[in-house]
């Protein structure tokens, strides 16, 4: 299922997706469930589990702000402890 990295806008998510692409991390853009979006029109990138640490490192290096990181457990999205 992978990890869900949430951004506050489509533009931020697009910027992040291009950064990940250049870092060799494949991601899929999606709308997160409303309760994960912080009440905003957030967008998210779905990233494979094993690629999550390098993905987050790349985003941090690029100075991209995240709204949240979530992992699917027992059918529920839980906030990842980073």
């Amino acid at each position: 299922m992978g990890c869900l990295i949430v951004f506050r806008s489509v533009t931020e998510a697009q910027r992040a997706q291009r950064v990940l692409l250049r870092a060799g991390v494949t991601s899929v853009m999606t709308k997160p469930p409303l309760h994960l979006s912080g009440g905003s029109c957030a967008y998210a990138l779905r990233v494979p589990y094993e690629q999550t640490p390098p993905a987050l490192a790349s985003l941090r290096r690029a100075g991209i702000r995240l709204q949240g990181v979530y992992i699917r457990e027992d059918g529920l999205w839980r906030e990842a402890v980073l």
Partner: protein, 373 residues
């Protein structure tokens, strides 16, 4: 028809631009308003265009590329954000009404227009720097005069402003796409404003504001941004702070192809071609006693001329009747005419583009000779 009014808008547009607009009108939805294919397609167009513009102008972060309706819109955003709390602005004596009128309308804002002789770069620098006061909040300068093609000393002004901590707003309406611009070289330039439909060969109704430095941002209009919907306040981050409401995705789709076209041709090659054509016209008219051609060192882009026998507007109309598309009059830049001494009569402006030819220039030269003899 011989079109030589590219300083107003470039014509024709590259065929790739026309195709992109049509494709977007078939496939692009509203960006940032959903996750379906049409919305995603529109969002891709916008972000691709941000990346393309950032690459062309040396901007690190594509989210600093804001899409506007035109250069006037971009200038209003830059000026009203920078002077949000009032202050004093120094502007060159060659600014367009898109700089002059917003300043005139703002309460608590004073400005000084620094007039200087045409094609005298040192005089322009001295006039602008001497106009700076203790309370000067920003400097605003056109890169190239839209009337005379006078290239202002932007890099020197950037150094001057950087030393004094004064933000510089650059109007690149006549240089974007035809002169190399690398914003990473600027130290004080906070905003660069440009149309999408002139030197970038995009559709009308498009413009770009490049946000080059971290600075306090104030919106001009507020509304839906596709982000932070529960917050009643306007987001303060780029690009949303300046982009409320549905974007002109169809226009930006064309602008994206225009940007790609310019990057392929290179601004330097485009500019050199335009300047070779205007110099050719100036040479052809050299020696015509009734015609004054405004040429000088460091000129780029539009070329202005006047006749002592036929008023500018009338000469323009006569040439239009013969199929030449030129612009006559004041070109929305009374300050420039005041500086150059042409405020009463205006000028006829000739502005070739990438698709103009030497033959068209020669035909125009012959027509001007006949109409003014």
């Amino acid at each position: 028809m011989i079109y030589l009014d590219n300083a107003a808008t470039t014509l024709p547009k590259p065929s790739s631009v026309c195709r992109a607009v049509q494709s977007a009108m078939i496939a692009a939805g509203n960006p940032g308003r959903g996750s379906h294919r049409a919305a995603a397609s529109a969002a891709e167009i916008l972000y691709d265009a941000r990346e393309e513009a950032a690459a062309l102008f040396g901007l690190d972060d594509p989210t600093g590329v804001v899409f506007t309706m035109n250069a006037t819109h971009a200038l209003n955003l830059a000026i009203k954000s920078t002077l949000h709390s009032g202050g004093h602005a120094v502007i060159s004596g060659y600014e367009h009404n898109s700089v002059l009128r917003p300043l005139e309308m703002m309460e608590n804002v004073a400005y000084t227009a620094a007039h200087s002789p045409l094609f005298d770069e040192d005089a322009a620098f001295d006039a602008m720097t001497e106009a700076v006061r203790e309370d000067t909040t920003c400097m605003i300068c056109t890169h190239v005069s839209n009337v005379f093609g006078f290239v202002l000393p932007v890099m020197r002004l950037d150094d001057f402003c950087a030393e004094r901590g004064i933000p510089l707003i650059l109007d690149a309406s006549q240089s974007a796409g035809s002169l190399p611009i690398d914003v990473s070289q600027f130290k004080a330039v906070t905003f660069v404003c440009m149309p999408g439909h002139k030197g970038l060969y995009g559709p009308q109704g498009t413009g770009i504001l490049l946000c080059c430095k971290e600075t306090e941002l104030h919106s001009l209009i507020e509304g839906g941004t596709g982000s932070e919907s529960r917050d009643p306040r306007q987001p303060d981050r780029l690009p949303e702070v300046f982009e409320s409401g549905t974007a002109n995705v169809h226009g930006v789709a064309g602008l994206l192809e225009g940007l790609r076209f310019v990057r392929r041709c290179t601004p330097r090659a485009i500019g050199e071609k335009e300047d070779a054509l205007t110099e050719r016209l100036a040479d052809r008219l050299d020696g015509v006693r009734s015609v004054t051609v405004f040429r000088g060192a460091g000129r780029h882009g539009p070329l202005s001329l006047t006749s002592d026998r036929v008023p500018s507007e009338e000469l323009c109309a006569r040439l239009a009747a013969r199929g030449f598309c030129l612009r006559g009059g004041l070109h929305c830049a009374p300050l420039a005419h005041e500086s150059a001494g042409t405020l009463e009569e205006g000028t006829v402006r000739v502005s070739p583009g990438w698709f103009s030819t030497p033959r068209e220039i020669d035909l125009l030269a012959s027509a001007v000779r006949e109409e003014t003899s």
